[in-house]
């Protein structure tokens, strides 16, 4: 099936929470790659009786296509496993599986999981051209990326001088120039400090050097800037002090600093360790704030047990993990903008801290009042591979499975955990549909994604019901991408190019001469060579 064709998906149990449909048995009609209200009676039919029908999955935070991902691929040849081209695919490409799969394999595996939209969460603007190349070679998924700005030297200068309007225009120009979708902040100010004798910023009001730049000022300026531009997704924040005991204080202060402003706090689990010395969960405190503030959203960054690799723009975190583990370490400072730290890691269920991290993620899910604002990620591949999503879904839907797993992990740091208090909550299929597609799509402002209403992209996943939940979500029976059947009987049959999701926001061009002077003076490429042109498709709308 391709564009221009019609199909009626008949008789499935539809979970489309964005349209208030919770398991109703009804038809879903596709025409020209979109959902339509109805089709003529003689339209082709796919019998979906007994199946669960959901929109295609939407991953709001993953690391799949960036220079950092490519550094990771090169760093760890020993973990790579050959991944032949899918047998049912006419022009399929082979690749390798690993913490960071090769690009074609990434697209195939996401599609095989029923995911059809993915965002890379951290791209240095001068490396954006590389990310577009990788996405050109990542089929099956619509994809975009977030541009790193929280340590951009020009922007920090504007923050220092309090030039908020100019900061807004610079953000809009930069995002549009490189073809990004959202603004990313990583360790605000701390990555710039990493490149100086200061090394890091650990307090929200700690000044960067002798300037007036603080993490708080960066958060406020960039959050206001993104919202004033009208970006569909608010500023996407990786807080200061990731992975450090007691960091929940910084996280909460960051959330409080942005009260009343739309803001997304990412991989919250890694920022959720309580005060008082040592390691303990602060899930209750942080999720209470999220529950009480509808302008705030989070993704979890769930840890699962097994090998992983930490990929981050947060240079000091890379050094910390290298110091703690003694394993391989990549650090790459990126001029004028950001950094990159990579260290392989293994989460062991018998290790106390890893068990705590695993438990905190589940606590955040289970204590969240609003699944629309607490969505599923592993921060792939930092907490686990995206391929672990089915296992996480099972832990959320089955208390018995969760308790069984809980009984096997190191209990040393779990005293006081909400999990041990007997959290009985079990996610419903509709709640799973929210945290894996409807919620992320809404947080991303993707009006045509994450739902099955008329006019939506016909990205649809059909699951056979199965007593083992993880198995059900591991191998969807059918997946449609823009109306094209790409997974059939759980086998990948087609691998179309995905759509590039990017913005070209408007801005006041008066900002450009100053930016040009800065870039020409301190950069190492011509200013006019930064922008990425000739992207596939049209930019999405802003505002």
């Amino acid at each position: 099936m391709s564009h221009g064709t019609r199909l009626r998906i008949r008789g499935g149990a539809v979970h489309d929470p964005a349209n208030g449909i919770d398991g109703a048995v009804q038809d879903v009609c596709i025409e020209d790659g979109r959902i339509v209200a109805s089709l003529p009676e003689d339209a082709p039919v796919l019998d979906a009786r007994g199946m669960v029908v959901m929109p295609g999955g939407v991953d709001i935070h993953s690391h799949i296509a960036s220079s950092s991902c490519n550094h990771t691929r090169r760093l760890l040849p020993e973990e790579r496993v050959p991944a032949p081209a899918p047998a049912g695919l006419a022009h399929g490409r082979s690749g390798t599986m690993a913490s960071v799969p090769s690009t074609f394999t990434t697209g195939y595996r996401y599609a095989g999981l029923g995911y059809t939209t993915v965002f890379d969460a951290a791209v240095a603007p001068i490396m954006a051209r590389h990310t577009h190349h990788e996405l050109d070679d990542t089929p099956c998924i619509d994809a975009g990326f977030y541009a790193l700005m929280g340590n951009d030297e020009y922007l920090l200068g504007l923050v220092d001088r309090g030039e908020r309007a100019r900061a807004r225009d610079y953000m809009a120009w930069l995002l549009g120039s490189v073809g990004g979708y959202a603004v990313k902040i990583v360790n605000p100010g701390g990555v710039e400090a990493w490149k100086t004798p200061q090394r890091n910023l650990t307090g929200l009001d700690q000044a960067l050097g002798s300037s007036r730049v603080t993490p708080r000022a960066i958060l406020e300026t960039l959050a206001d800037g993104a919202n004033a531009i009208g970006l569909p997704h608010p500023v996407h924040i990786h807080c200061n002090n990731l992975g450090v005991p007691g960091n929940a204080k910084t996280t909460l202060e960051s959330m409080q600093a942005l009260e009343g402003r739309r803001a997304h706090f990412t991989h919250l689990q890694f920022h959720c360790y309580g005060e008082g010395g040592g390691w303990r969960s602060a899930a209750r405190e942080l999720i209470a704030h999220v529950n009480a503030h509808p302008e705030t959203s989070v993704d979890v960054g769930q840890v699962m047990f097994g090998p992983a690799v930490t990929i981050t723009a947060d240079g000091p975190v890379g050094q910390m993990l290298y110091g703690a583990s003694g394993r391989k370490w990549v650090n790459v400072d990126v001029e004028l903008e950001t950094g990159c730290g990579i260290v392989p890691i293994t989460y062991k269920d018998k290790a106390a801290v890893a068990a705590l991290q695993w438990a905190i993620g589940l606590e955040l899910f289970l204590l969240a009042d609003d699944p629309w604002r607490t969505v599923l990620t592993t921060d792939h591949p930092n907490g686990a591979s995206f391929l672990a999503y089915p296992q996480i879904i099972e832990l959320l839907m089955s208390r018995a499975r969760r308790d069984e797993a809980l009984g096997k992990v190191n209990q040393k740091l779990l005293a006081g955990s909400a999990l041990l208090d007997g959290l009985a909550r079990e996610y419903t299929l509709n709640e799973i549909a929210i945290v894996t597609r409807a919620g992320p799509a809404r947080l991303l402002g993707l009006a045509h994604k994450g739902h099955l209403g008329v006019g939506a992209d016909a990205d649809i996943t059909l699951y056979d019901r199965h007593e083992h939940i993880a198995q059900m979500f591991s191998a969807p029976r059918y997946v449609f991408k823009r109306g094209e059947l790409i997974v059939e009987e759980a086998q990948l049959r087609r691998a179309p190019a995905g759509r590039r999701l990017y913005l070209r926001p408007g801005f006041d061009e008066a900002v450009l001469p100053g930016v040009r002077r800065h870039f020409e003076q301190w950069g190492t490429m011509r200013f006019d060579h930064l922008g990425v042109r000739d992207l596939p498709g049209a930019p999405l709308g802003v505002g």
């Binding site: 690749g95 190349h133 391989k328 001029e335 004028l336 301190w522 060579h529």
Partner: protein
Amino acid sequence: MSTHVVPDVTCLGCGLLCDDVALALEDGRIAGMAPHCDLGRAWFGDGQVPARILVRDVPASFDAALAAAATLLRPAEGRALVVLGPGLTTSAVRAGIAIADRLGATVDTATSPGAAEGILAGQRRGRASSTLGEVKNRADLVLFWGADPATTHPRFIERLVATKGTHVPGERTLLSVRIGEWGGPTAPVLTLDEAQEAGTLAVLRGMVLGRLASPPPEQAGLATLAAQLTAASYVAIVAPGEGRDARRAALRAEGLTALAQALNGPTRCTLITLRDGGNRNGVESALSWQAGYPFAVSFGGGAPTYDPGARGLHELWRADAALVLGDWRAIDDSALAALAEVPSVVVGPRASEAPFAPGAAIDTGVAGIHEGGVAYRMDDVPLPLTPVVDGARTAAMTITALAEALGPRGAGA
């Protein structure tokens, strides 16, 4: 005579990829460049390349050459060699890897033995590096370790060192360590025999880590150097990134990587290895994202495997056919001689001049001279390429057309 100047051209003459070059064109020929650079001038030449298509040394049509190439390559499925040479845009490289995947081929690249050892050291230890702008903006101490960029990367000093940086408003400290015949741009603070290099790096690392607090008198110079390094705010170590002496390169890469990582405690440090141009880094990047490995990849088992100890061009007896993409002139003489014994196809600049009697040869333009696209700097920053001279058909288009002529995997002979 018509003359005009094309500004902001990206030069692939070395790994710096200077993108501020102004080319003077006279009657469609490149007549000059500014700022002048010997390597750049050699790279651009006069911009004239042949535009022939040959099948068994006889002029042929494009379609006939593609058909001949496909006929020659298909029977070698599972036993073919694909060479990704320099002078290709990254899009052309991507298309070339697709053919290698389709053929189940072994891939060889223009990654020199020295560069390969640097990659392998990175796979053992990791990296402590940066983009080039951090040298310019932050490095208050630059240590040239057996490297003088004046000969290999002529504008390195001008663009990155002899200029102010955001965090380096004044003079920088420039130090050179001479290793054998390889000196740096300043008088050496240390002079080492090649045999001393690895051991010296280990001692220097120990000093940086504080494990050798009281060095013996004969190592006082090293102690001074260690103190200078740790007292700096941001150190850039500049070292050779190419070379044919694999053993020496392996020891150096391992030692320098370990030293640079050790310095990222008491201070900050980036290790910059001087790589050649021609988009070598683009080849390694594209192989990494498509296959998972930067070089020495084989698709022979139906999916990529990695054997960095084996280089296809030097094991041509394994191949039933070879497809050379890019500039064949980067291939060494022994491999060129071996290619004459294997049925081959060449697609790239000056393919028609290849000395090993290819069964089909299709001349293309050169990346960044005749063909637009993207190439990678030696720090893996991708830069746009703009065609400045009319030339032969593009390599990207030609390789894509060849892939279509081959048909899907298993199409057989």
